[in-house]
Symmetry: D2
Subunit: 218 residues, 4 copies
């Protein structure tokens, strides 16, 4: 008889639940309810379901499995886990509130010389992913207390030890329904909808850690 | 005239310095001084030098650069930055001290059912990378307060928002001089040299943060 | 003064031209003219333009360039070149004509046991790419005279020495405008539009070594 | 009872055999017998064994498998197949014979302006892969009748429709035993050992469409 889910170890539990959208999908600027709802339900929701299957399949891996079997599933686990986490961070930083000021403005100015230069770097990195997949992730680095923009070609990429603060989805499912190949139009819409209060909250949470040390992660 | 380095914004500064080995390379068990010294000097040191060039090249990117130019350099920045950070974490968790107990043992048991099951998962993931490149990274997840093992096929991969706690280099430059294609022999040697005190210290630092929230990163 | 284009060596020439659609984009079944035209003009056309820039930038690489500069551009060259070639192969095998019979049917039956089993494998590989990027490529292998389906996660992947015979684009720009997240609907539409006469022609050319044409695969 | 191997369809047969080294491994210049024998036996041989397991596992995939299960195995199939084919092409173009002249010299001069410029591009692409994984592949393009160098970051990459003519392995298992981190020393040794007669033979076969042999590329 199958083991009761609640008895499985955490890594193999496969009981992740979707988080609802933290805003009214009918009220974003320039991003349609149909697009946002499909993105949330199908792409994020699909990743949650897939992750649950993958974790349970990993838990059923025979003790003497060939290493490639482990590697191929661990890759799928990374893809699905990051897809879940980054989609949650993405929807979480939409909804239009506040302004890119305070500590966030201070950190990006320190890193890029000016807030406008930071935004140019973020947008241009996004445009380099147009027509394909990926994310642009502004991450706080506990080890240096800085914030920088990172290129991610797919769900698997990210700064080692970095805490995502502002996240933009560049997968085509994030904009094609509304913008087709006009990725620039989507990037404009993204910036018009950022919830800067949430961005500030994340940054504050990340900075309050004891992680601000040169020793962790490296 | 070239701008003085100290005036460049942080993201384009390109002044990273190597960190010395935190142990005597002649005293590891089953990993030769020649191997460790070459790994540290050539692979880690090479990444530091390359990262400095990449950051400065990014800072000199023309305002009207084609997006692919930005994307290709941002990819190189991610590769070199993670190579630097992960190598520092790797050397930092070698040197043989303490034992895999305390909070670490509690967390991996929660995730994998038993410490031995965690180690089997970690080792098998490592073996899946034998003959190629990559890392195995046991990361603390601030959003769930759990610790799991992650597959990384090259320097670019990692858990979004995860804090590397125990890191094993599976690039062939990490073992071929001593073990040739015998990756299993290397993985055994890695475990014989882990500095568990450092592992515990990292975990403690990661857990003391205010990051232990479902809201960051996602 | 800039060198005249026609004097540049072939590898650095950067004078690729778009090929027109080989069918009337208003007449496909279940794939709209708007989708096909955008796909051809923006995604394929964008790759042609980008490839031309990349080749010329490679030709201007300083003799003493850092290796990472070469590597990052060579990666972009591979992405853009394969995007051009695979898009040409994709549009080239649409337009609805003939049937999957003759040598093609013989080869896929030899490889998969039955033509239906081949199609199941091809479709399921396509579905594994839903929500992201990639291609499914049925390639002829000159060294074994067989034909098999290959997974490609992005433009860079492919069988060493394989000749693309039937190519399905799984980038979301290939279907999101018409099908949203319903990748299965798109795969059905793809199969309803295959130009099997062209597939047979390619296979014949591959087997006779008469591929020296601008038409196969690009 | 298990199906007899000889009854399985080709794609799921899993009966690939190793090819022996086409030269005496004790007689290469600057590449030790120990290195070459380990490379052939462990890395190439390991890929052959793994490929056989993967093909049989693909053949046992349930009809209703989740798409990610298909995708992850198809990725492993691509990695293992290309590792087999490229290793066969690599060992096949070592053994030191002939000179880079004739049609080969004509084609690379057409592409790069001069044979020396071709070799510089090939070597620099190789150096961009130092410290990690990958291949440099000079491929003949049937569609344009040209020959160019391609960057491959791992076993999965390659020119769509390209026929490998000269192949250099840049995985660290190809040189670390003899050269450590001195990748340049290895690249010099590679060029000292090229079997140009085989390179010419492959190019001739590619141009005549007579590749239907177990020898090219694998």
């Amino acid at each position: 008889m199958a083991q009761e889910p609640s008895n499985r170890p955490l890594a193999y539990r496969g009981e992740h639940q979707m988080k609802p959208l933290p805003f009214d999908p009918a009220k974003l600027k320039g991003l349609s309810e149909k697009l946002i709802t499909s993105h949330h339900q199908n792409n994020y929701g699909g990743a949650v379901k897939r992750l649950n299957l993958i974790e349970q399949q990993l838990g059923a891996m025979p003790r003497d499995a060939a290493p490639y079997q482990q590697g191929s599933l661990k890759r799928e686990e990374l893809i699905a886990t990051n897809s879940v986490l980054l989609h949650e961070a993405y929807f979480g930083n939409l909804g239009s509130a506040g302004a890119p000021d305070g500590d966030f403005a201070t950190l990006v100015t320190a890193s890029y010389g000016a807030r406008e230069a930071w935004e140019h770097d973020f947008r241009l990195t996004g445009m380099s992913l147009a027509g394909g997949s990926g994310w642009v992730i502004a991450s706080y680095e506990p080890h240096s207390q800085a914030l920088r923009n990172w290129w991610a070609f797919d769900h698997t990429h990210g700064l080692a030890g970095g805490i995502p603060i502002l996240v933009m989805d560049m997968y085509e499912h994030g904009y094609h329904m509304d913008y087709g190949a006009n990725a620039k139009g989507y990037v404009d819409a993204f910036f018009a909808n950022v919830n800067w209060d949430e961005v500030s909250r994340r940054l504050e949470a990340a900075r309050q850690g004891s992680l601000a040390s040169r020793d962790v992660p490296g």
